[in-house]
């Protein structure tokens, strides 16, 4: 199979990730729940994962909270900062993992930047909304549908200058673009562990510059007589047993990313994305590419996007079609009714993958 759905999850997992997760299930018990060898081995695995993340994202290990996925982290972050009536500024390219928690909490959502790949329009609109007054901002680093890289450094600087807390959704950027927690000055940065960081499904990270409000309450292994959750991170936001095999695999994944370097991963993925986009345009497809493109692109053909994806799938090419859980992004780009076919490259992007996709599309262009 030619796997081009890395925007959903990285697949297959690198062998060292599989080995680490498997080994953890054999030798590690519950971290922070005992002093015996297997419990301490689990604690060491979890701390190693925090250290690897801290080194990649320029923060302290205790600021790294283990979550089940990026959505989990975003829910903690949004629940910590906002409530009923909070005015929250978002971009026009957000995932449901951002919009649904905001609407569920009764926030008043303001949207800045609806034009695809246009930083100028986004920043103008973002500044205007900040001036009018908001209680916070949540924005994605990269659109999961179009691979559009948002100007997050500039948006973060605007938020800091206005004294507005913000949350970054690094679902599609962690592992392939620089994410510097200290430099951005975010209250929270949420990310999956299983996409660009190459860890197992069911893992995620929340980088915390704020103590946060727990989403779950329960055992943490320490300060057990207290009726409330501990004040200290990361345990404050980690009630219950953490995913130790997941953390082991994620630590191995982050090690691999650090050794390959996000810059080189991006260069490979971006190169294939642009090559793919040019070829698809030549073949007559409507391709959504622009000057701030990551490792993902969307396209449309004459046939229904699901039919194209199904035809590709039946010939061994894995891509995703539809709305990609991001109706707002499609609304902004004018693709809400038809949806798109999405191609997303990973750390192993290669011309062979691009050529295989194009070969199948040339043989059976519309399914």
């Amino acid at each position: 199979m030619i796997y081009l759905d890395n925007g959903a999850t990285s697949f297959p997992k690198p062998p060292q990730v599989v080995r680490a997760a498997e080994e953890a299930m054999v030798r590690a018990a519950n971290p922070g729940r005992g002093g015996y060898k297997a419990a301490m081995a689990a604690a060491e695995i979890v701390f190693d994962c925090r250290e690897q993340a801290a080194a990649l994202f320029s923060c302290k290990p205790e600021q790294v909270v283990l979550t089940a996925n990026c959505t989990h982290g975003l829910n903690i972050a949004i629940g910590s900062l906002f409530g009923d009536g909070s005015r929250v500024l978002i971009s026009g390219f957000e995932h449901n993992a951002v919009t649904r928690p905001l609407y569920a909490r009764g926030c008043k959502v303001k949207i800045a930047g609806r034009r695809l790949f246009c930083w100028e329009e986004l920043l103008d609109s973002f500044r205007r909304e900040l001036r009018q007054g908001v209680d916070g901002a949540v924005f994605t680093h990269v659109s999961n549908v179009f691979g559009y890289i948002l100007p997050v450094k500039e948006m973060a600087a605007e938020c800091r200058a206005a004294g507005v807390p913000f949350v970054l959704d690094a679902a599609q950027s962690a592992g392939s673009l620089p994410v510097d927690f200290g430099a951005l000055g975010a209250e929270f940065i949420a990310m999956p562990g299983h996409k660009g960081l190459l860890g197992p499904q069911g893992t995620g990270l929340l980088l915390c510059g704020d103590p946060g409000k727990p989403l779950l309450f329960g055992g943490t292994g320490t300060l057990s007589r207290e009726k409330t959750m501990p004040e200290d991170l990361p345990e404050r936001l980690e009630a219950g047993t953490v995913n130790v095999p997941g953390a082991a695999g994620l630590a191995a994944g982050i090690r691999l990313v650090r050794s390959l370097t996000p810059e080189k991963i991006f260069a490979r993925g971006h190169g294939q994305t642009m090559a793919c986009g040019r070829a698809l345009e030549e073949m007559g497809y409507r391709v959504f590419t622009g000057p701030h493109q990551a490792m993902t692109l969307s396209f449309q053909g004459k046939a229904d996007c699901e039919e194209i994806a199904e035809a590709l799938g039946s010939r061994g090419i894995a891509v995703r079609a539809g709305l990609h859980c991001a109706p707002l992004a499609h609304e902004s780009a004018g693709t809400l009714e038809k949806g798109t076919v999405r191609i997303s490259f990973g750390h192993d992007a290669s011309p062979a993958q691009t050529n295989a996709l194009l070969r199948v599309l040339r043989e059976k262009p519309e399914g």
Partner: protein, 83 residues
């Protein structure tokens, strides 16, 4: 050779302490703390044998690792000490 025990609020902070001291050549052994030391429940600590406790505590301060209490083992019993 004196033996000290530094206690922490969580296993994560105890591990941070272990790394902080390890980076300066001060080895500590990570373990659960005796129940009587933790009025609020379970805790973790670092046992240091023959180390300069002042140097160790300075290292933790420099690295921003907060600890709860420091004990010294005397006549088979841990006594809290103020630093």
């Amino acid at each position: 050779m004196k033996q000290y025990l530094i206690t922490f609020r969580s296993v994560t902070y105890a591990q941070r302490g272990e790394r902080s001291l390890g980076g300066r050549g001060i080895s500590g052994s990570l373990s659960r703390t005796p129940k009587w030391m933790e009025q609020q429940g379970c805790g973790y600590g670092l046992t240091l044998r023959g180390a300069n406790i002042y140097r160790a505590v300075d290292a933790l301060r420099q690295d921003g690792v907060s600890w709860r209490r420091v004990y010294v083992l005397e006549n088979g019993k841990y006594q809290e000490i103020a630093l």
